[in-house]
């Protein structure tokens, strides 16, 4: 994700220019969708649209440039995810991955298989973490947020985020070393 590109897109997007809004969406939506998928949202594509429908009307008053836009977008995504999970009455829903239902299919069968394998491995490794640790790591990696920005998005202190991050990585390292070929649920 290029912050320089987002910085250029932000002023026209804040003025409500349709082309700029679309460009911002195309820059940020894949990351938001990956975050929602990794966290087990029930309808990640629909939820992604909902996130931007909530973000765009507030763009005009946004400050902080591209970093502020990313922080705000992922904080809205996190809040929508929490709402989604509450609606379904469970905190951490296990979502079985079905490659045939994945809309990100490429023409190559081999690519689909590799991608599915990667996705399944990543999801299985994430499942070994506590929910808070998962939130922190996914926001840091996919959202490209700093510790302070993650703290702001999750409503935690920077110290708590650092602690969750460190413990999550140690748990992940242990899982990877114990299961080099991937973790199975």
């Amino acid at each position: 994700m290029s912050d320089a590109l987002l910085e250029d897109l932000l002023p026209p997007a804040q003025a409500g220019e349709a082309w700029a809004l679309r460009a911002v969406y195309e820059q940020l939506a894949p990351k938001v969708l990956a975050y929602l998928r990794a966290r087990g949202a029930s309808e990640p594509e629909d939820l992604t649209s909902e996130v931007f429908l909530a973000v765009f009307p507030k763009l005009a008053a946004l400050s902080g440039g591209a970093a502020g836009l990313r922080t705000f977008t992922f904080s809205v995504a996190h809040a929508r995810l929490v709402d989604d999970m509450r609606k379904r009455g469970r905190r951490e829903p296990p979502v079985a991955y079905v490659a045939a239902e994945d809309p990100r299919q490429s023409p190559s069968t081999e690519d689909v298989a590799v991608e599915a394998l990667q996705s399944e491995r990543v999801r299985a490794l994430l499942e070994t973490l506590l929910p808070d640790q998962r939130d922190v790591l996914v926001l840091r990696i996919l959202g490209d947020l700093t510790v302070d920005q993650v703290a702001e998005a999750l409503g935690k202190t920077a110290g708590a985020v650092k602690q969750l991050q460190r413990r999550g990585l140690i748990t992940l390292r242990r899982s990877v070393e114990n299961h080099p070929d991937g973790v199975t649920l």
Partner: protein, 221 residues
């Protein structure tokens, strides 16, 4: 997690610097497994943006009128402060206790404890419990009359009234005499309570009351 895992984690601590580098996708010596995981996770976001919903597509077609009044406030963090729950309860309890102590409505020992405590930590002085002197040799509740002698004579036509013991104050004996001062003058002050009729019973109770006293006086006389 096993103790062996814990030992291994202690031997290989993860510094903040290494953690930061791994999370940014940089290679860190000895952390190839983590680097691979981060790379795989990042690849999940390599695809194109999903198709927007109808409402979002309409926004992309027509643009948006900027609303400068809309504040990009972050949604409230889903954090619960359970430790705040007892505070209102404590405030209510303390308030109720102080209120009761201010009205001197607490039991004696409790009133004293609360009053002393408040006085020691604040300039507020709450009332202290009233000290009642220990009762001295109480006079006998029964009049000093001969055994078997009934001091109250009820008129045979009257229904027996409920009587309640009431001490007779010698200074105000006239009040009980209902203007019949002569009837009591011969008795002198009495320390013992004498039964008094309940003047709420029946119609014409005033006359019967007076009659009762008169009868008693005449009987005693």
């Amino acid at each position: 997690m096993t103790p062996r895992d814990d030992d291994r984690d202690v031997r290989r601590p993860l510094s903040d610097r290494d953690a930061d580098a791994v999370l940014r996708g940089h290679a860190v010596a000895g952390e190839e497994g983590l680097t691979s995981f981060v790379s795989d996770l990042q690849s999940l976001a390599d695809d194109a943006a999903p198709a927007p919903s109808a409402a979002l597509a309409a926004m992309f077609d027509g643009g948006l009128v900027p609303d400068l009044t809309a504040s990009p406030t972050l949604p409230p963090a889903p954090r619960r402060r359970w430790w705040l729950v007892p505070i209102p309860l404590t405030v209510v309890l303390v308030g109720a206790t102080m209120g009761a102590a201010g009205a001197n409505a607490l039991p004696g020992p409790a009133q004293r404890v609360v009053s002393d405590t408040v006085a020691s930590i604040s300039p507020i002085h709450l009332p202290k419990p009233k000290v009642h002197p220990a009762p001295k040799a109480k006079p006998s509740p029964t009049p000093a009359v001969a055994p078997g002698h009934n001091p109250v004579v009820v008129h045979p036509t009257e229904r027996p009234h409920r009587v309640t013991p009431k001490p007779v104050n010698p200074k105000h004996s006239d009040d009980h005499g209902h203007g019949d001062g002569g009837s009591n003058s011969g008795r002198g002050p009495q320390a013992s309570p004498t039964p008094q009729r309940d003047n709420h019973v029946g119609s014409g109770s005033g006359s019967s009351d007076r009659e009762g006293h008169g009868a008693k006086s005449s009987d005693e006389g």
